[in-house]
Amino acid sequence: MAEIIFWSLSAIALVFSFVVILAKNPVRSAIALIAVLLAFAGLYLILDSEFIAGVQILVYIGGITVLYMFVVSMMRLKRINVESQFSRQWLAAIISAIAFFVEVIYFILKGKDFFKMGMNSKIEVANGLGTVENVGKVLYGKYVLPFEIATVLLLAAIIGTVLLAKREKKEME
């Protein structure tokens, strides 16, 4: 069962990834991107990481893709439609993409001994590691300080955005 879901989600992600780069209409690309991200959220769910799945939907679909849509709708669409969606460097891009792909495959197959990862971690994947409850406990427990710093970081980011974007009022004499 899990396997069927895995393969079908992967297929969805792959197909829609192609739509993202091939679609002429940027709105269509953005919608296809949502489908890709949703499929990934499903894959995370299979891995028992419900938290990451939720964050994926909230942040990527709810935030980032909507941002894309804003940008797309603010630009003049007609001009973009005329332009080709491939840049002049497409040949080099394809070659380097294939090279990278081969590299990744090679390392997945052969790199096990060369790059030993995770061999020393004593932490075993406990049941329900990725649940919202456990993530919350870690976030508000062990990592409470970085969490709090992150809140101030967001404050600084908001202050900065307001500062850079707000309209100039009357100048001081």
Partner: protein
Amino acid sequence: MLGDSLKLVNNILGIKDIAAFSPQIQLLIWGIAILLLSVFVKDKKSRMNISFYFSLLGVFFSGWSYIKLLRLEGIYDGEGIKFFNGIFKLDGITIFFYGIFLLAGLLTILLSKRFLEEESTFESEYYSLLLLSIMAMMCMAGSNDLIGIYISLEFMSISIYVLVGYLRKQLRSTEGAIKYFILGAFSSGLLLFGMSFIYGMGGTTNLTQLFRILTGGKSAISEPLLVLSMLLILAGMGFKVAAVPFHMWCPDAYEGAPTPITAFMSVAPKAAGFVIFIRLFFSLFKTITYEYVSVLALLSIITMTVGNVIAVKQTNIKRLLAYSSISHAGFILMGLLARNEFALKSIGMYILCYLFMNIGAFAIVIVMRRKNIIGEELDDYKGLIHTHPVMASFMTVFLLSLAGIPPTAGFVAKYFVFSTVIKEFLKSGDRLLLYVAVVGAINAVIALYYYFRIVKRMFMGEPTKESEEKVAVNFYSGLSIGIAFFFTLFIGVYAEPFIRFADLIGNSFRSLF
């Protein structure tokens, strides 16, 4: 259930933890108070003054909590004290850099008032973000955890990006901010990539535990992966301290930023970057020697040389000082070559001296700025000795110090860094270290040339009509220049107390592990 939760809260947030964090909390409170001011004080002029005093108060109270922390027992010996489940650590290094950040913040705030009046642009966010960025650097200095380091690094960077683009009506300010932002985001990616490899090998983000796992001599640690992550982190941090292949943002950001911010970011974020260098490279990558020394030696050589050689050609004084600050980063990197107590001390000493002399030089640039004359071109300094003799002689001292001429702080700084490298060379016999020292010495000569281009203009040039206009130095910028000037000379003449202050960081060498 409720009892459990209360116990959990008590475990994670003891009053002791919050007390250890009080310098940062003070800055945060005053930073927010400055923002709230704009609700209550409508008049722009008085708001400008009140925010200025509030930010001074913020630094003052933060410094007060900092002095109280100094007396905390157990900071200076061995491991230091850990807070927040080992994520935050108070040791000599943290304490030393707290002092650096607070001093840099204080001098910058003092300089800002006149600059903002002259530019006739003021938003309360300026001081607020300045305080928040100091807070972020303090969090960075004490972080003993990869996540803590990363989050506070981002916090610091975001505050500084915005401050660089503060003069949003000027094209070059916006340009500098965007360049800094894009390259900074890219470098954070590299840094995070390297950190994720470390996490993958060690299975934890805590530096103390990671050190035990990574240097425990277990065969399971793959050397290539460790080297790879070291290089990625080196590249990521190289951006933050503007070491040479990663320095492209630096001149534009320095030129575009409001000059007090340029002074600030040429010192404080750089120092914060070097804390991360110390925390990661002195401990986690201790086992990698050959790659570390060769890569860092190369980085240091090209940083010094490129920074200096390009600086020779500059005609804008802010750009010139930007390139000079790049070359100074190269000198500090020299101190990182040997990973021992003395090296730590020499880095601390260099940053301490660099703080005063660099902010001092920028302070003169700020003061020289007048309404109808920008004061950023080298030619604006022609004949300064005739028109403003005090400013000219102060500037000369700062430039002499930056060049490393004896009775000034710069000499002490360079002395320590060079002797670190030479000592390490005598110990290990690695020729590369000798080359680094030789290149460093050559660079000191090149630096002397372009610093003296300014001095020559000031003393030999004929003043132009515009530059004869009086400079109105207000009390606060005068105070700032005075502090910088005093310490630049004082460290040069009698360095003993400052060396003892730098001993704080040298002595907590053991707390890195």
